[in-house]
Symmetry: D2
Subunit: 339 residues, 4 copies
Amino acid sequence: MSELTQPLDGEPAARVLVAGASGFTGALAAQLVWRHPRLELVRVTARSEAGTRLDSLYPRYRVPLELEELDVSGAGDCEAAIVAYPHGAAAPVVAGLREQGVLVVDLSADFRLRDPKEYERWYGERSAPDLLEGAVYGLTELHRERIAAAELVANPGCYPTAAILALAPLAADGLVEDVVIDAKSGVSGAGRGGSDFVTVDENFTPYGTDGHRHEPEIAQELRALGADVPLTFVPHLLPIDQGELVSCYVRTARELGGEELAELYRGRYDEEPFVELTDAPPGVRDVRDTNLCRIHVTANGNGRTMVFAAIDNLWKGASGQAIQNLNLMLDLPETEGLK
Amino acid sequence: MSELTQPLDGEPAARVLVAGASGFTGALAAQLVWRHPRLELVRVTARSEAGTRLDSLYPRYRVPLELEELDVSGAGDCEAAIVAYPHGAAAPVVAGLREQGVLVVDLSADFRLRDPKEYERWYGERSAPDLLEGAVYGLTELHRERIAAAELVANPGCYPTAAILALAPLAADGLVEDVVIDAKSGVSGAGRGGSDFVTVDENFTPYGTDGHRHEPEIAQELRALGADVPLTFVPHLLPIDQGELVSCYVRTARELGGEELAELYRGRYDEEPFVELTDAPPGVRDVRDTNLCRIHVTANGNGRTMVFAAIDNLWKGASGQAIQNLNLMLDLPETEGLK
Amino acid sequence: MSELTQPLDGEPAARVLVAGASGFTGALAAQLVWRHPRLELVRVTARSEAGTRLDSLYPRYRVPLELEELDVSGAGDCEAAIVAYPHGAAAPVVAGLREQGVLVVDLSADFRLRDPKEYERWYGERSAPDLLEGAVYGLTELHRERIAAAELVANPGCYPTAAILALAPLAADGLVEDVVIDAKSGVSGAGRGGSDFVTVDENFTPYGTDGHRHEPEIAQELRALGADVPLTFVPHLLPIDQGELVSCYVRTARELGGEELAELYRGRYDEEPFVELTDAPPGVRDVRDTNLCRIHVTANGNGRTMVFAAIDNLWKGASGQAIQNLNLMLDLPETEGLK
Amino acid sequence: MSELTQPLDGEPAARVLVAGASGFTGALAAQLVWRHPRLELVRVTARSEAGTRLDSLYPRYRVPLELEELDVSGAGDCEAAIVAYPHGAAAPVVAGLREQGVLVVDLSADFRLRDPKEYERWYGERSAPDLLEGAVYGLTELHRERIAAAELVANPGCYPTAAILALAPLAADGLVEDVVIDAKSGVSGAGRGGSDFVTVDENFTPYGTDGHRHEPEIAQELRALGADVPLTFVPHLLPIDQGELVSCYVRTARELGGEELAELYRGRYDEEPFVELTDAPPGVRDVRDTNLCRIHVTANGNGRTMVFAAIDNLWKGASGQAIQNLNLMLDLPETEGLK
């Protein structure tokens, strides 16, 4: 019953290209554009699987388009693109698309870190550095207005999305003195072919304990909010496919009670369409296949504030947030195509 | 091929009763006694499943004995017992067995907390309080000599086992100023029938965020080692059956380098038969079905020491450690029956 | 961001009650009605959890209604109801609702089997037997017209849905001589609280090998199609939450080649909105959270025809098909609210 | 606590080499030799990971030896070898080892199929065909005496092990007329790196539906037992790491009652140390990490006999059976090192 024509609702607001659609985040981005009532999915491309239909690679996404090789020079027939390339490989493609006047949401890390030295330390030499200045860090809830005006959005990493949303209310009020972020993610974060079943199944293990790329990204945004503080970040690998939870342990400048915390978080997030404050700790299953971030904040009676945030790493942590940002860039309702 | 007679190696050192053998930890304790070359498994009892053969409840443990109702007054034909009852229900049974002169390893919480108020706060009214004084907290690596001389051992909780082993070297040297313990456990810790598959599968969630019973147990032992410090402890539920990992984030009194940390931990654990120090973060799969605790310690370059410890919650976190303690109480080699 | 009002598309076609909404299938039925553009979810009821909000029991379904106790006598304000009660308990409720003139889709087995002796053999005494005559077996693809005219639809069991769809083209052409159905299901089929995690995890086991309730249901429908033949049906339990696959091994009246088989199946299913014929064997993951049945048919070169069918047991195997049927009963497009 | 010297029990009966020890079956074979009281593990080799310690690749196996490159010409210091190479690559290594006079258990398919055409059809050109005649098919329960006298044993595939054990009693009595084998395996059968987590997790799918290499192997052995009958074999992939279940549906020459079946199976298997007949269908969890095959046979009252057999594909389906065979070849007790 895969329908061969896209179920659009009237004239599309934009024609969209998804580059790198054979990976997990690219394929989901393609599906979200395909089922979006106002975006037309014009082309899906892949570096090594051109000629394959996307719905044979990802039957459950049901996108009946054939993967093509990317021809950047011919991309001018699209108003917008989502680029799902590995870091390093993304920047030149983004540069080419921008030259054609195409709006870009880039899922890679290539335009996230403002500090060139930090970028080089974690990712190697940067290409297209001139585009950096205009790029906006795409954590929608923090930078909504700048995203709406941007032509290039650097979509955040999955861990930073959850961690920054968890900590922003405290950081913006200057309350954070020190923070430990114990993060856990399902394996789709590692990309297609990234994780052997037998190694992961019935296992659970920390990784990146001597430094992880997402740490400077979190630090950069907390700093921008006013919290230039010691940060400890350790990711762990969960034996599930999708889902991510960060547990944040914050030493605060002064003791905060439960009600004060609740009010602080409600103040920032009550109007947010994709942030839910919960009375009990969130489970990753509750946000599976949604663009939601569910947050629970509490005081432990020991002078420490604890914040738990759950997202689906492929949705709010990647492709869902990309659509959220694209909606803003195209002046569409922020939640369009994401419910 | 279940053998109907126990494969003993000569005259047994003790005749052993396992009470509460129909639950996860009791059943494993029964199996470990059954395959132990020097312990004779005389009887297995259960409160509600008398008449059932243990190997029909737990085929993979292959213990061909029928569960009986417990008759404490007739338990004097055994030299030792492992009691796997819920807290509250355990104490009277333990008292009865002690009256018969039976050595006891108690898997419940009934004799772990020294402070009666703490006990009551978390578990309710305590029975058999007079036995408390003689009870020894059975974290083998900390209290080996007292355990060897004890007649009643209070076997530690699973989280405290991993957390205290992770922190003891730092605590004993007065180096801990503050600690966050982010703990994760498979669901067998919740006991038989405790967790519905659909609720747990593909999920991951914090729990006990407003206080967990294992926190005072950890605090008590750290205090005894000299670390009376702020402690934050949050457990999370992993979608696996067995396995537990604690991630400890320690602010230390002074900055500790990697080599100094390694030496400190080697100094305490190098001779320990069931503690392994690892160069990389441990995974729970690496210790599955073993009595090992694998520990990785590292400095994060940010003034914080991180310690990760993995155990199998049913083995080192419960029944394996019970055998380890029983070996000591009976003057057997500590590792007998545990390899 | 749970929206407190239902996102309806104009005047609803019917006001709908979901009875028994605290179980897996009832909760999903409630969600499917809630997000259905043409159905208004008026009330959700539960036998033991009245007063609880459905979205606290099932956060990911996001239905912000409070569970009520069922008052059948006041149900006349609804045009239609989906009843998700256990067998035996369902029939009296269905009878009461029918007395109020409410259209009913019943998810239980109470009105599936035409033969009273078969019903009694598997389920015990039947109540409301007079309703049986008017009840239509709700396998949509087989009985579409009768369902559209029905006032009471007996929604099929999950295994029968997959098995009958897999075999119908062969059965209707008189080609089946004998069939083995090796069926596998995720654990949500067993209902809430039905399966302990530790027992199911990393396990796989046959069950019901001395007879399963779904066998007479399959036999009844195959017989109605003309295939009154020996039938072997064995279910197995998969360590996953949702998803079901049946592998059917058919001895046919005459040898059938691959192309003939393909044509036979295309002839029956090409126009079906929820049946997909696939070139490769289907995986249950491909149909997760969809109302699709994916079927692969092939000859094994050995005189045997093999048919594999995958469904989501909660969707096409229960609540999704209930909506599909309700759409027909209410003269709505069959696929409304199911994409 | 990994012990650096092997815990041997007196003088070893043989010095053993494990070639291809970096894969799942080779690594387990190495561990089983290491913990075997009468076999000395002299060397472990690997084609691409020489220099790595085996216990860093497989921590839970705890074999503290470094992988070396294989030097067949120097293998004469060993009495026996277990070869865990892929098919095609195994034969030349086996030939080289035999030239050195080393007894070999080969885990590959290279010497399993007697019919050269069948081999070529499924595996391509065969090397070392002259060794075929002396090779014995290593399904211990069928060929015990010939294995004891063999110098080269072709260890069976995992599916054939379970299927042939399930069917042998019926086949040997000439009772099988036709058989359907619906087989399910965990993913470790596919080898290291063989299965991406996200593809397999929460999935279940048939594969090899147009023919699988293990089918001719099963057919060969059933034929040798006297059952040259139509055989349908379809494997499915389970989302677990270890474990395999075959469900066999047999049309028998005459109707067999439950008691007659039980007696037939007891007659063949009652003395077998690694076959257990069960009253209820076996689960794969019950045999995990054991060398057991658990079998349940029953009549379905429909003229069909059903046999279910569960094994651990890495143990009885590969490395455990290799040790069982090696014990026989070396005149050791068959169960030595396997309990």
